[in-house]
Symmetry: C2
Subunit: 245 residues, 2 copies
Amino acid sequence: MSGWIAVAGLGPGAEALVTPEVSAALAEATDVIGYVPYVARVAPRPGLALHPSDNRVELDRAAHALDLAAAGARVVIVSSGDPGVFAMASALFEAVEARGGTGADIRILPGITAMLAAAARAGAPLGHDFCAINLSDNLKPFALVEHRLRHAAQGDFAMAFYNPRSRARPHQFARVLEILREECGPDRLITFARAVTTAQERIETVTLNEARPEMADMRTVVLVGNAGTRRVGRWIYTPRGVPAP
Amino acid sequence: MSGWIAVAGLGPGAEALVTPEVSAALAEATDVIGYVPYVARVAPRPGLALHPSDNRVELDRAAHALDLAAAGARVVIVSSGDPGVFAMASALFEAVEARGGTGADIRILPGITAMLAAAARAGAPLGHDFCAINLSDNLKPFALVEHRLRHAAQGDFAMAFYNPRSRARPHQFARVLEILREECGPDRLITFARAVTTAQERIETVTLNEARPEMADMRTVVLVGNAGTRRVGRWIYTPRGVPAP
């Protein structure tokens, strides 16, 4: 008898942002699989096996979940944020495709993704058309990042960047800021939102001219406004529309 | 004494997707403001005044919330999905700006936005870089929609469209499909997700060649894959990366 797999988004960090749907799946699970800090957010209980694993082993993790489910387990793969946004859902389907299918019942359980939690804390910087871009070149060439940045800027999209900067590639985010200054000018607003909704949360909005690569790390999501984004009081927001020319 | 305003996202429809944070705010509120069908999702109770209003009066609604909060009320403005994505958060900040500030405490409470709920039901079509575009020309010229569509397609972003089609502008979505066929070719996958997570949910994935304007209405969110998006079993997904050329 086949079990099931739920790929669940735990949201950005605060327990109050975990959906009841995800909590219910965790309450029924026999096994929880995921990156160490996400599995650490799940309370241990009798009958629940926790399987924490390192970063960058997404496909192994997905294969492990498929094996457990094939043996009848009820498996929750935990992601932070939303599992469909630069997280485990795509990895699971890659693994399913690689083995030519699965008998397991699969459900993807959405969560509050980092960019929307960050936007909420900053005001409403993504209140009009926007793009989400993963700046890591772990799984794509950096030239494609540059190409997408320019299209996003030329389309006057607001932008959200995931994985803006790591120790392995400190220079690339400096290049991103350069491209943005070229395309959007020095006064465009940019928000660095670190560890959103946790005790370490820090939200800072500056102009592109003031932005420095060191303002981002791997726990930061970066939001860039469109041409109309502005400050009101301690908030920033992007108007809902653009007047006809 | 000033009250507070929380702009809360109720998610796409299912109660299991309302965050505990939003439920807690509703439990403390004295007043709930919003578009009729969203206010209808809030359970009445003694001490809670419900203020449903029509569509397209976002700024009146925001001004009403500011007036109530100035008089000490605890106001929740309800949006479906996430309040920061084509919803009430930007409208509130526009209203705050128009009156030169507010003494009220404002919090934006994120929710599960329609595109991420739809993506989860379909698989993982937004598993790589993507754009969110509001196709309505209510608050921007349609030429800007076209401009953004072409940049999104040329950047090979996956895409999510909000408000794809209304009775007032039935021809525009036909034009959107034409542009997409030009830019992305006939075989690109497109998903029509209607009334996601409700009893009326319907999810349908076809190629651009098979897509018809009638497949969308105002309760539909539309997802378009990137060049790598494909089917696996009953799911569609976008791989997490793009191989180097």
